[in-house]
């Protein structure tokens, strides 16, 4: 197992090709749950968990069921199904152990199912051609870390903006998207690092 290669995959997934700021996936929770830092961190943790679990399970399904039986056309259906099951798991866990966090997420928790960042990750594993389960696991976990990074940074900025005199027309999603644009320009600087 090449540890250096795994580290490169991890850094690339989390920072250099950040799922939100480079691929522009997962924008809806990025806009919806980035109002408070603690909530954003909770959402980031939930997405990271679902992402890692879904990445591992879909990798195994694709490699040992879909491809051997020539069922690749079922990829999307199967992947969404797995993701929905994982989200259900998180939802049950949160409702039992973190009821306050569960309430504050509201609709955004079941909506992780339709978070394109997660379907995107499971598909990217195959588009990028990761050959081993270890690579797929590291990639999907660190995509989640990158999502957490982006949403926590955004939540910090938005908490600071509570005190700012933002023009009325721009409050809410508009200013958030503009900040995301500036963040994306900033993360452009990492292009090329890690090959």
């Amino acid at each position: 197992m090449d540890i250096g290669h795994l580290v490169a995959i991890a850094i690339t997934a989390a920072v250099i090709q950040n799922i939100v700021l480079t691929y522009f996936m997962g924008i809806c929770p990025f806009l919806g749950v980035s109002r408070r830092v603690d909530m954003a961190f909770g959402m980031g943790a939930a997405v990271t968990f679902v992402n890692t679990a879904a990445g591992v399970v879909t990798y195994l399904l694709q490699a040992y069921v879909l491809i051997p039986y020539h069922l690749e056309f079922l990829q999307y259906v199967v992947f969404i199904f797995v993701i929905a099951a994982m989200v259900q798991l998180v939802e049950m866990y949160l409702r039992k152990f973190f009821p306050r966090l569960y309430d504050s997420f509201g609709i955004y928790l079941p909506l992780i199912t339709t978070n394109c960042a997660i379907l995107g990750t499971t598909l990217l594993i195959w588009i990028k051609g990761f050959g081993t389960l270890a690579q797929a696991t590291v990639f999907s976990a660190f995509v989640g870390v990158g999502f957490t990074l982006a949403i926590v940074i955004m939540a910090g900025i938005r908490e600071e903006l509570d005190f700012a005199d933002v023009p009325k027309a721009l409050r809410g999603p508009a200013i958030t998207l503009m900040i995301a644009a500036i963040l994306a320009m900033a993360f452009m600087g990492f292009a090329g690092i890690g090959g």
């Binding site: 910090g156 908490e159 903006l161 700012a164 644009a181 500036i182 900033a186 993360f187 452009m188 600087g189």
Partner: protein, 329 residues
């Protein structure tokens, strides 16, 4: 009994009483500097930028004048339009629009078509500052937002540096494998308008720090951050492309960034540990982007990334009051 002092000790006491109390006590807050206003700070920054302006005009002649005028006029015009649209008092007099325009002009390559400079200045003021509500609310350094926008739109023009009048080199020392230290120091190298002359930047920058218009922790943090990571270059790139630590410090936008860009009091953290982390982060990221990234220079990206982290740094580095609780709950 007479009032006249009879012993030398009594004479001294009487003299002291006449001169006023030894220990004056007043209630806080203690304003030691009554004139410490936004306007005074901005004027200090402008004075600090004078040597840089002089060096830019000396080395790049008409191109420099044209660029500076374009950027400043466009920045002020954008600020006027936005304040007019929001029916706010025109904020020209606080000087911040002027400084945004100047810093942007200094960070652009000389000979950039004026309409591009103008677009950069308008984006800097509009997207970088006014949409957040104006000066004091901006999360990012406005000039760097404008430059990043230009970098995304006009990459080719933004990475072509004209040589100074009378010099022979055309590539920036960062891409060409380094220039001699003396040349970097006096500024006779290709590069963005205001970043070439290390001597002039240090001269203006020291004035800025002495007048406390910028915090020295930010500057020191950034320079230390660069110096910490720069030795990596020695083994990361082959000898023709790697720079020494001093070359890393003196070439490109590091000095301009350390003295005039990271010291922006609005977009940098409020706490002292936060400022150290901010400065170190900018310096280290700059060199990492220079060595490993596609972009020849990393100061702008590093500043923007650390600007984004600033609200979190403010949050995490708040000093705990003596005897206070570690957490609110």
């Amino acid at each position: 009994m007479s009032d006249q002092p009879t012993t030398p000790a009594e004479a001294l006491l009487a003299a002291d009483a006449a001169a006023g109390p030894l220990l004056e006590t007043t209630t806080g807050p203690h304003l030691w500097e009554r004139a410490f206003t936004t306007r005074r700070m901005m004027i200090d920054v402008l004075i600090g930028l004078l040597p840089v302006t002089a060096a830019a005009v000396w080395f790049f002649r008409a191109a420099a004048v044209c660029q500076i005028v374009t950027c400043v006029v466009a920045a002020l015009a954008a600020e006027y339009v936005f304040t007019f649209a929001r029916r706010k008092p025109f904020s020209l007099l606080d000087g911040s629009g002027l400084i945004t325009g100047l810093i942007l002009a200094f960070s652009l390559p000389p000979g950039l078509p004026p309409y591009m400079s103008a677009i950069g200045a308008i984006v800097a003021v509009a997207l970088g500052k006014m949409i957040f509500g104006g000066l004091g609310y901006n999360i990012f350094n406005p000039a760097m937002v404008g430059r990043a926008f230009l970098m995304a739109c006009f990459t080719a023009e933004m990475t072509t540096w004209a040589a100074p009048v009378g010099a022979t080199t055309g590539a920036t020392p960062l891409a060409a494998g380094g220039a001699s230290l003396l040349k970097l120091f006096e500024g006779n190298v290709a590069g963005s308008l205001g970043e070439t002359s290390a001597a002039m930047i240090i001269l203006g920058g020291l004035w800025l720090l002495l007048r406390k218009a910028g915090d020295w922790r930010l500057t020191a943090g950034m320079l230390i951050g660069v110096a910490l990571v720069a030795p990596v270059d020695h083994w990361a790139r082959e000898s023709g492309h790697s720079l020494t630590v001093l070359q890393h410090l003196l070439s490109g936008a590091v000095l301009l960034g350390a003295f005039f860009i990271v010291t922006d009091p609005v977009s940098s953290p409020l706490t002292k540990p936060g400022r150290w982390i901010f400065g170190l982060g900018v310096g280290m990221l700059t060199v990492v982007i220079r060595i490993f990234g596609n972009n020849p220079e990393g100061v702008m990206f590093a500043v923007l990334v650390m600007n984004a982290m600033t609200p979190l740094l403010n949050r995490w580095t708040q000093p705990r009051p003596v005897g206070g609780h570690a957490k609110k709950e």
